[in-house]
Symmetry: C2
Subunit: 922 residues, 2 copies
Amino acid sequence: MSKHVYFFGGGKADGSAGDKNLLGGKGANLAEMVNLGIPVPPGFTITTEVCTAYFASGSKYPDGLTAQVEEALGRVEKLLGKKFGDAANPLLFSVRSGSRASMPGMMDTILNLGLNDAIAESLAKKSGNPRFAYDAYRRFIAMYSDVVLEIKKEKFEHDLDALRLQVAKKKGVDVAKYNKEELKKVVPDSDIEAADLKALVEVFKGIVKKESGKDFPTDPKEQLWGAIGAVFRSWNNQRAKTYRKMNDIPEEWGTACNVQAMVFGNLGDTSATGVAFTRDPSTGENAFYGEWLPNAQGEDVVAGIRTPFDITKKAAAHKGNPGTSLEEKMSAAYKVLEGIYLNLEKHYRDMMDIEFTIEDGTLFMLQCRVGKRTGPASVRMAVEMVKEKMITQEEAILRVDPHAIDQLLHPRLDPKAARKFLAKGLPASPGAASGAVVFTADEAEDEAKQGKKVLLVRTETSPEDIHGMDAAQGILTARGGMTSHAAVVARGMGKCCVAGCSAIHIDEKAGTMTVSVYGDGGKLMDTVVVKRGDVITLDGSSGEVFLGAVPTVPPELTGDFGQLMAWADATRTLKVRTNADTPKDAKVAREFGAQGIGLCRTEHMFFAADRIAAVREMILSSSVEQRRKALDKLLPFQREDFVGIFTAMDGLPVTIRTLDPPLHEFLPHEQHHIEELAKTMGVPVEALVKKNNDLHEFNPMLGHRGVRLAVSWPEIAEMQFRAIFEAAKICVGKGVDVQAEVMIPLSLTKRELDLQKEVFDRVYAEVFNGAAKKPTILFGTMVELPRAALMAHELAKTAEFFSFGTNDLTQTTMGLSRDDAGRFLPDYVKNNIFPKDPFQSLDVEGVGQLVEMACERGRKTRPGIKLGICGEHGGDPASIHFCHKVGLAYVSCSPYRVPIARLAAAHAAIKDKGGVKQSSTI
Amino acid sequence: MSKHVYFFGGGKADGSAGDKNLLGGKGANLAEMVNLGIPVPPGFTITTEVCTAYFASGSKYPDGLTAQVEEALGRVEKLLGKKFGDAANPLLFSVRSGSRASMPGMMDTILNLGLNDAIAESLAKKSGNPRFAYDAYRRFIAMYSDVVLEIKKEKFEHDLDALRLQVAKKKGVDVAKYNKEELKKVVPDSDIEAADLKALVEVFKGIVKKESGKDFPTDPKEQLWGAIGAVFRSWNNQRAKTYRKMNDIPEEWGTACNVQAMVFGNLGDTSATGVAFTRDPSTGENAFYGEWLPNAQGEDVVAGIRTPFDITKKAAAHKGNPGTSLEEKMSAAYKVLEGIYLNLEKHYRDMMDIEFTIEDGTLFMLQCRVGKRTGPASVRMAVEMVKEKMITQEEAILRVDPHAIDQLLHPRLDPKAARKFLAKGLPASPGAASGAVVFTADEAEDEAKQGKKVLLVRTETSPEDIHGMDAAQGILTARGGMTSHAAVVARGMGKCCVAGCSAIHIDEKAGTMTVSVYGDGGKLMDTVVVKRGDVITLDGSSGEVFLGAVPTVPPELTGDFGQLMAWADATRTLKVRTNADTPKDAKVAREFGAQGIGLCRTEHMFFAADRIAAVREMILSSSVEQRRKALDKLLPFQREDFVGIFTAMDGLPVTIRTLDPPLHEFLPHEQHHIEELAKTMGVPVEALVKKNNDLHEFNPMLGHRGVRLAVSWPEIAEMQFRAIFEAAKICVGKGVDVQAEVMIPLSLTKRELDLQKEVFDRVYAEVFNGAAKKPTILFGTMVELPRAALMAHELAKTAEFFSFGTNDLTQTTMGLSRDDAGRFLPDYVKNNIFPKDPFQSLDVEGVGQLVEMACERGRKTRPGIKLGICGEHGGDPASIHFCHKVGLAYVSCSPYRVPIARLAAAHAAIKDKGGVKQSSTI
């Protein structure tokens, strides 16, 4: 017979903290506390396996469960000298869910279980507090009916409100002055007397009878089994399902069910209840932090009707409420609590979140768990705990979620500032900014030149908007996902961006943006018109847009942060490079700890105002000679760029990708831009229109781009090679340590690389002919098409390194256009088809196979081949773990994600070598 | 020491026909003939390995070559009792290239080698024919100078023309009446006398001196080595390179060099030369077929100056030239020739192409090889040779190139008809047709209704044009490749199509098509304007377009063809299905031998005039209810289609693919169509425009299509499932044997399939609830994305079969858009990056890996899983061979390619089991 029920109480428990999978977090930690000798009301946990079996068998309990529950119940009764269902000496229980992972508030709880008329009356007598007894009884009926009998809460609340109104009138309150919610504060529950509550119980029973057609169950055993079933069923309620989806919690885990003897914090002024954290969860300060209420049950602390007090004397004094602290009011219980919290933190070696109740002067612990904390707090706690020798450096690293440090690197909205919500889009690039709305890139540039702070608002951005994005404080788009052009470029610039904000509709001509305001259930409630020049605020970390300016607070890269990153750097083996296209970006990235440039996109340099004309001239050329002439104009610009980048990255590798995007991206597409360009270039408008049409592609992603451009027009790549080599020559001459790597995009075959290598070698020989110092410049390729991965053994014959372009590799492997997927990805997430957006977190199962295969095959041909990844996944912790596992040399990501990647790489290194014991698993 | 030189002559040869790789085709067959006792002038072959070594070492010959050549030379001298370079008893040689594969005319040949002034004089005396001697000498100088010394032929021809003019004048010819070419017929070479030729030799020597700065080499040995080097070098001339690329001949094969004693067909009236085929190469008739000329050298027969005579008496009589045949004129030599050709055909067991020379009554064979033949001839010969017990059925199958039978299945242009060339595009769909030009699908339909034959000419076609394509005799497009919409649909309809004809420019409004006519070197020479209603002719097999009507001849599916296909069917293991969307197509395909439908595209049914309105209503729906209403209208149409198809395919499997293309394909895109639709549907034009814009995708290929549509709108697939099941129920009720397979397109994950399977099972249960007979309907998926192939083990858990959609799989694996690749594929072929268009012939090396992987993984999960391929590759012989090898159950192709696929599948089966000995390898 399997063990379904785990008892705890009387200083000994069947389980321990290690049994989280079986007992859920709450049950395991209750057992652990009991074993530590901490006072915990006795009880028992029904395992998660019972829950799983319950669903698998069509709501049947496994054999033996009833007997085991009976036995555990008997042990509790014996321990407390009370009896469940015995009016003479009644015992009440709480029944709570508790799964492996914390799912706060998602599942159901029933308190005060075991009451009926006789027992309530007995409790009233024994406690000498009939108000307490009938208050518990009416709460129990409402809670049980809601959870087990599925009768809506509101039905009961309506009658409670009516009762409150009577009481208020009786007390002479001018009820017309208050609404329902306000009245709860004027006439709190505690003002309702026992007799009234007793009458209310009868009303509640009537509701149950009417709604369910049956009497409220008076048999405590029947109540108990009803509650157990409801707790298990609550695993599959809609809230819980949604929460699990959001938090990657598997369906099959199931919940445990904790049945525990009730203790009461509402027995009078010697009773109390409270919640606390062993350290400050928002700042990380090592100071006991919590709130309490005398004469209250747990739910009162969080309900917000009564304002709770601070626990410690110091905190109460600080807030100007001396004398209100638990430390002062109930010093004996506080002493016990202090001992327990110190014990728990030492035992769990982490900041704990605890719940306690004081019943008539005696303190009981009801729950403890590792406490949630903000990003900054997690850094401070981790570093301080190492200093306190509580944890190791490796543990400290693992304590900080790489995602969480993002908020440390950007300005944030001042949490205390008032704000007026306007709309919500996708949190595309973190940070916060306010500014005047502009609708075109040119405007953004013009206004910024005059010193104004602007936000660029576009339906979607294109490469032509780069200068405007650069000039703006932030970017807001109506279309596009987390990996749209706006999002990618903004993250690269470290600029805040809200993308895909579908509630806004832009009328560029009218200079307005109309915002649809939706109510509950997606009903259109109102529209707001924002005009050019109106100020709004973006929160790129939440995706929210606010009307007017909301003040921000700057990022704080404290000493603790630096310390943690230093430990991470010492731990990780994976190098972290950055994607940077300009000397300016390169410098920023180096400050963030980048160990090189993994992707320098030469085409981004083409969009600058002083170059785009020559680029367009090149595209419009109809002969090789004409094209060469245009390329000759571009050469000095590119050379200058590379000189700047090599100098900024002195001693660190710089991977330069040759021209990649389809040429039509460089031509203007709007009529007035076309006309302007035609005038500037002295060509007829029709010629430009025709060229645009000729270059139009049905699927540009799969079109004439990457190395295909160089196959058609080898002179383009030749110019780029020459610019790189000449820049390297100049830099080497000045004593700069140049570590250049040239990378060919979108290759499919060895032959494509060979054709490029021929030109590369020839130009190298021409540039360095007779030079004293010849820097080694590597020749490699992107692996960003499935065929390239499959043929990696061939490509490696020519390529000296691979850089996985997992953005495009994901697009082609999954047949998923990054720019179009926004339309149906929500359906895919809703239907549980993709666990995560594959453009944000690498599809390890599918795309990952190709990466692994390419690594293996590449190494077979060229054992020491350098392998790296560039693209969005290089900044995603889960993807970084994969990169570490398959043995890549580096990941490359946007400058502002470099610290995240450094920390994630350290996580991977620690976890991969077997890992350290994590607090969350004990 | 390696053997570099293979001797042949005197009844014995070092090599044999099996040594083709080493000796080239010509050398190996010369050796074989010698071994057979056939009279062949003696000589020797320098191996292809010498050629390869020559290139590898930078134009050096391997050790020992000189000695081996000297030795072989000595053996020839001894055999013939003549001496090379000896004026007293001169021996002349021909030096010819000869590679493993036939490369007719691509490489160089030098005749009459070994002449100088003294030897020419001696030859004149010994032959008693000075005209012959000096004619040989002047030919030799010109040929040697061209090939070895790289002096342009034209320089010599110019002086010969001048001499001819003198001779003509001397003879009193009115030279003003003739141009240069015509004069050659009026005053043939034979009219130029010995003294004139001798003088011409001196002029030629002067040209050599002037152009090369050196005297023409008089040492025969020097001449010989010069010729050998030139033959090897000719392997790498531009012509040869291009030819190899076109014919898939590897660069590394190299050519052999054949040095053979000269025999002369131009020694007088007892001498002659000729070429012949052992059977008629154009009809396949078993009749000796050839031409000859008395007193001539080989090149005269092909030069076209003198009209050659027929070889056999029967043929000469048939052409009205009795008494001119070799059989009558030189009956002794003919008897010998007859014996030889019968011997050769018996020995080689194939139709042979032979060259012979009769020197003073004695017949010598100069070459034999397996003869090229037309498609119809290859079928007739193969079948007749089996009947003659010359070859086996399997050999007969292998003798017919599957590509070649395409011309048997369609009408062809009458080869004898006059034609006026207009332009050339891609041979997108075979067959030929004439008709009046129309520029829109509607026009095509209207005109066709009035009984007119029209050709639909479009810049490119879209699904909206289907009805016009159906109504037209053929389709001509200005853009798009072999796998463009027009090409794919036309092949499916068995309708001729010329695609991507870039010389035409269509002005729909003006109702004209302007055709650019290009001259040599791509210069624009002229433009021709074709107006609406003008008649043109398309040849879909050659890609040519002609002005006016060219008569056609109907396809001849003779008894031999049927016999061959029956043998093929009995041999192959791979089944051949067809891609068919309508009962009509299904019937045609069944007649062509299709064993089922491998791909029935449900969306093609949506475009019919009576349905498109409901389809558009469905797309424009803004709620599930509205969409269901529109779908309810479509249901009866779809059901009716399936009833028709199931009935047509009674007893054979029918694979139906659920809706695949992005929805915007169903909406009109031209302004007047939009306005029309808006009127019909009673919606505002702007609403339609907005929907069109909303549905616009950057990369529709990677967008919202395939199963993704069904994930977003499950009700669409539900309607389709219902239509299929209800149709099956109706058919089963009528006694039709329904073998339906339902296929989900573009799946990536098992979960997508599970979602569809749920609906599939539910609807099946609803439709067949209580039915007496419940047909088994399989549920499967397309594998057309790399991720699907990689995750095949997962997909196979739900999918009962896979159908490889290699069109899309190629697009995604290679990142290559079929619709856009046309722009750079030519550069890719030119640069030798892709050996073949990967959309025509499967990229076995890359894409093939994924197919193989998916087969393996799919079988691991579901051992008996049914595997097939649909899409363009299913009709390509090379791809079919691959499909056979990886063990697919069937290929599916367009109806008109079914016979090709049947034959190709038989080829694969024979080759795969070790194959039969092929005539081309002995």
